[in-house]
Amino acid sequence: MARPASPATGPHRSDKRAELLLGALASVVLVLIAGMVVFVLAKAWPSFSHNGLAWFGSGGNVDTQLIDIFNSPANPDKYEYTFHAWPLLYATALVTLGAVIVGLTFALFAAIFIVEFAPNRLRAVLEPVVRLLAAVPSVIYGLIGILVLVPFVGNHLISQGRKESVAYVVQLSGNSLAVAVVILTVMITPIMIALIVDALRTVPRSWTEGAHALGANRWRVVWTIAVRAARPAIVGACVLATARALGEAIMLSMVSGSVGFAPNPLDGLTFFVEPVRPLAATIVDNAEGLSVKPLGQTLYAFAAVLLISSLFLSLGAWLVRQPMKRYGVRP
């Protein structure tokens, strides 16, 4: 936007001071971020350096590895660090991708409905509904999940035979991948809907009117013109939702089962009711062990992985928004 020129008298001394003060306030944020990245990476380093690339690989049972690290001897030279995070990373990816893919489909249809097809009265209800769903604290979603959905899945949807079929590897209690994905979808979809609605509304009227004039029906116009023009914003919405899903800790630690188990897609339907243990939830589960030095360092390594991935996501969102600026469509 065009910035009006300074007063004709030239910059005043109080102006200079105000600029410096406000600039300093703004830069505090940058210092904080830099500090955060450096602090967390430095604290996490021992866990990475002891395991090398094997940190990201699989091997052994994650839960027992965490317990061993927690119980490692007091002598700093004999700290236990062996850790293979694959089941946790895999669980994080499964839960996040599942929720984002399901959520995107829903969000796309819901946003199109709000912008194009909803009758005015329903639209007036839907917009606060989206805001409400986005505002509900994660712990409330978690509470409903653990007290309502998990027992329902555990008692009614998993048959006794299915429980026995995998009893020698893992217990199926209802704390499961499916419940985690469903609740996470409900949590992140409203964010996507809000962003996609905003983008669809900024699509120039002349474009859609032109398509109407060519004889396309309302659905074709929305789908081929509006949604296509809003594609960068849709990707941006996905990125934000992914960041939110990656970092969700409390709700997932309540409903995901907290068992370091890597669900196997070859198990068929059982796959969906197997428990998982995402990274962020593991940090919360082990919050009391943060003061035990080696376990603390391992947990900071999780945080470092989350931090780096969310930094890359922000970068991705920024890259995605560049082409949008060229067409003058603001997010």
Partner: protein, 315 residues
């Protein structure tokens, strides 16, 4: 206009071009819209049902007690106070930072590279998971030079968990919201307003203070309310940085400072601890606290609407 509609035989020919797949997709749109309403409706009604079942005035005014029997665990006065303290503290820290950054970015914004990095920096803060903020805060406030903000154990180890620590990290959650709302409000002020102020001989600093900030007050208020709502709803920072002790436990003797330096809990951590995932396992209390929390969050998110729309109507 009327002539045009008369010549084109209504919208009929367009409607006739609906393929079966088009109809299916429009049907899906309706289905998702209605599903959304159903989910929100059942969520609110279920919480309302549980809330009315378990909430009582006693719960709101008695201190929590640790007990295995659910009926003897008292109320959640302390968590309620904790939520209020954290929300106020978080926004008090975030407000000057967010407003300052927004004003600097829209009114000065030089050098350009710094402006761009501040902008993306705040975006990064918004994208950082709160659990990462929480354990970063623990690391920061366990440093010796910040020991005056929390409890120091006998071995000279700094505990790093206090209202100060949690409030400071909570402010980072509210910051992007306050920044975004203030910036949008500032950008909406037309530039002739600024020019009129300069024409009267006001300096830029005076213009900001006397003209621009008062005009963007509503945006700031919206951002602050949203930020408070987000703070009230965050759990990870409380669980890790506030110690999540059942009652407010002060450190030291000064009346207010001791509480702020001490540990406590909020409604969110109370819900978490009383759910089957936590130690308390008192689902009735968890439902009651969750209901109160939901009401607080809804009030913060929608209350500001009433306020601004009433002012708009009066103006």
């Amino acid at each position: 206009m009327e002539a045009a509609t008369a010549r084109v035989p209504a919208a009929r020919p367009l409607e006739s071009g609906w393929r079966r797949s088009d109809r299916l997709f429009v049907g899906l749109c309706w289905a998702t819209g209605i599903l959304l309403c159903l989910i929100a409706g059942s969520l609110v009604l279920y919480m309302l049902f549980r809330g009315l079942q378990y909430v009582s005035v006693d719960l709101l005014t008695t201190h929590p007690v640790s007990d295995l029997d659910q009926s003897k665990t008292g109320g959640f006065l302390d968590p309620l106070i904790g939520t209020v303290i954290l929300a106020v503290m978080g926004t008090l820290i975030a407000l000057p930072l967010g407003v300052g950054a927004a004003v600097w970015l829209t009114e000065y914004g030089r050098p350009a590279w710094l402006a761009r990095s501040v902008e993306s920096g705040i975006e990064m803060v918004a994208g950082t998971p709160s659990i990462v903020l929480a354990i970063f805060g623990l690391l920061l406030f366990s440093q010796q030079f910040l020991s005056f903000l929390s409890f120091t154990a006998s071995g000279n180890a700094v505990f790093g968990r206090s209202f100060f620590a949690a409030g400071a990290m909570m402010s980072l959650i509210a910051l992007p919201l306050i920044f975004g709302a203030t910036r949008a409000a500032l950008q909406a002020i037309p530039s002739h307003v600024r020019e009129a102020s300069y024409a009267l001989g006001k300096t830029k600093a005076a213009t900001i203070r006397r003209v621009l900030l008062p005009m963007s007050r509503e945006g700031m208020a919206t951002g602050t309310a949203l930020g408070m709502g987000r703070i009230a709803g965050d759990t990870a920072i409380v669980v890790i940085l506030l110690g999540a002790t059942l009652r407010l436990q002060g450190v030291g003797d000064e009346p207010v400072l001791s509480t702020l330096r001490g540990t406590g809990s909020t409604l969110t951590s109370y819900v978490y601890n009383n759910s089957p995932a936590g130690e308390g396992n008192a689902p009735d209390k968890a439902y009651a606290a969750a209901f109160v929390l939901l009401m607080v969050v809804i009030a913060l998110n929608f209350g500001i609407d009433l306020f601004t729309s009433r002012r708009a109507r009066r103006a």
